[in-house]
């Protein structure tokens, strides 16, 4: 019965893909934000995203479905994610997978009550997406960085800074004449920073939280890419089974317009 409930829930999210407003952006190639708390076990997530975009070369929209699996065991968190997209660029429709993301997060420092915690991030993307269709980078990317959280109850604060580097030349990165895929814009090398704050809403039993923050990406030695920044707000409901709605608002340099991401995830202890 539990399996049937999972199946129905995911089918519902899949059905929302073509129905939802086109207002989000893929995050399939970017390392997720720091994982707060001491959750242990497997977590499966299915997210849907859509967006309308306008770049110097293309206008259009895409819809994406992102599946993510992660496991947390003691101080180590590891995850894998893959997205499938339908993209329409200047009137032409293409479908395909995005780049495969593998990432891990190690909790190396923490106070005894988890008020403060921090550690390292390591990730990689494999070029499974078609770069010609703006669905992938077309080459490997490696990401490394650090994260930190501060649990100043009731507020949870988080920060993460990473450096991403392509495993190819800048020329090869731009061989398709664009400055990165439309579904997850990224320079050949860049520094990414994320800051967020999370706050519980209402009664403790409702498990409703609001989260707000900003993402910044600064290209390094890549003059064809520009600084990107956005602000986001998310509402999350539930603990073991979590539903979230995340809204992103582009601030600078992002070809996408406002973004919306819906996600359903289930913890399997």
């Amino acid at each position: 019965m539990a399996g049937l409930r999972h199946a129905l829930a995911w089918a519902l999210v899949a059905a929302l893909v073509p129905l939802s407003p086109r207002v989000s952006r893929a995050q399939g190639c970017h390392v997720p934000q720091p994982q707060a708390g001491s959750e242990q076990g497997f977590r499966l997530a299915l997210a849907q995203e859509t967006t309308r975009f306008r770049s110097p070369r293309y206008e259009g929209h895409y819809q994406g479905l992102l599946a993510r699996g992660s496991v947390t065991y003691r101080w180590l968190y590891a995850g894998i994610g893959m997205a499938a997209y339908r993209i329409v660029r200047n009137g032409l429709t293409s479908r395909g997978f995005g780049d495969l993301l593998i990432h891990s997060q190690a909790r190396l420092l923490s106070t005894h009550d988890d008020t403060f915690a921090g550690g390292l991030v390591l990730g990689a993307t494999l070029p499974t997406g078609d770069a010609r269709a703006d669905l992938g980078m077309g080459h490997w990317m490696l990401t490394t960085g650090a994260w930190s959280t501060a649990n100043v109850k009731p507020l949870l604060l988080g920060a993460q800074i990473t450096y991403a580097q392509s495993l190819t030349s800048a020329h090869a990165h731009h061989h398709h004449e664009s400055a990165g895929p439309l579904v997850a814009p990224m320079a050949a090398s860049e520094v990414d920073a994320t800051l967020f704050a999370s706050l519980p809403l209402g009664a403790r039993s409702t498990s409703l939280r609001i989260k707000a923050g900003t993402n910044l990406a600064e290209p390094v030695a890549d003059d064809r890419s520009t600084t990107r920044a956005d602000a986001f707000v998310a509402f999350m409901l539930g603990r073991r089974t979590t539903t979230s709605v995340e809204l992103h608002f582009p601030l600078v340099g992002d070809p996408s317009e406002q973004r919306l991401m819906l996600e359903l995830s289930v913890l399997v202890p």
Binding site: H6, A7, L44, Y58, R95, F97, V268
Partner: protein
Amino acid sequence: MRSNFLGSCALAVMTLGVVACGQANETTGASGQATGATCPPDSELTYETFTRDFMHDYCTRCHSASLASADRNGAPNDHDFDTLAGLRATASAHLAEQAAAGPDAENSAMPPTDPRPSTEERRKLGEWLACGMP
């Protein structure tokens, strides 16, 4: 619990496949090959005598500055072939790799839909590009 976990994984993969593997809407031929086209000393191909009509017949239904983005069938906004200047703004190697032919190879990725040029017309395009787009 384990069966639920595996079942959920399988469903996620199937759902991704449904989204990613839609019906192909066009067919594309070879691209990116070095055609080996050269410019013969007595070449008479110019924009006026050949390329303008070639572009009109096969290219500007998508690669035209007069078209809105949604009507370009995927053609990038910076690839307009209505004029000689527009063609010259695009790298000749890119044009050759997409649509030209020569003694060594024939690239037929463009145009992706009918009507399409004959091999002889693609050879002429290769020659015109090799001559420096006169």
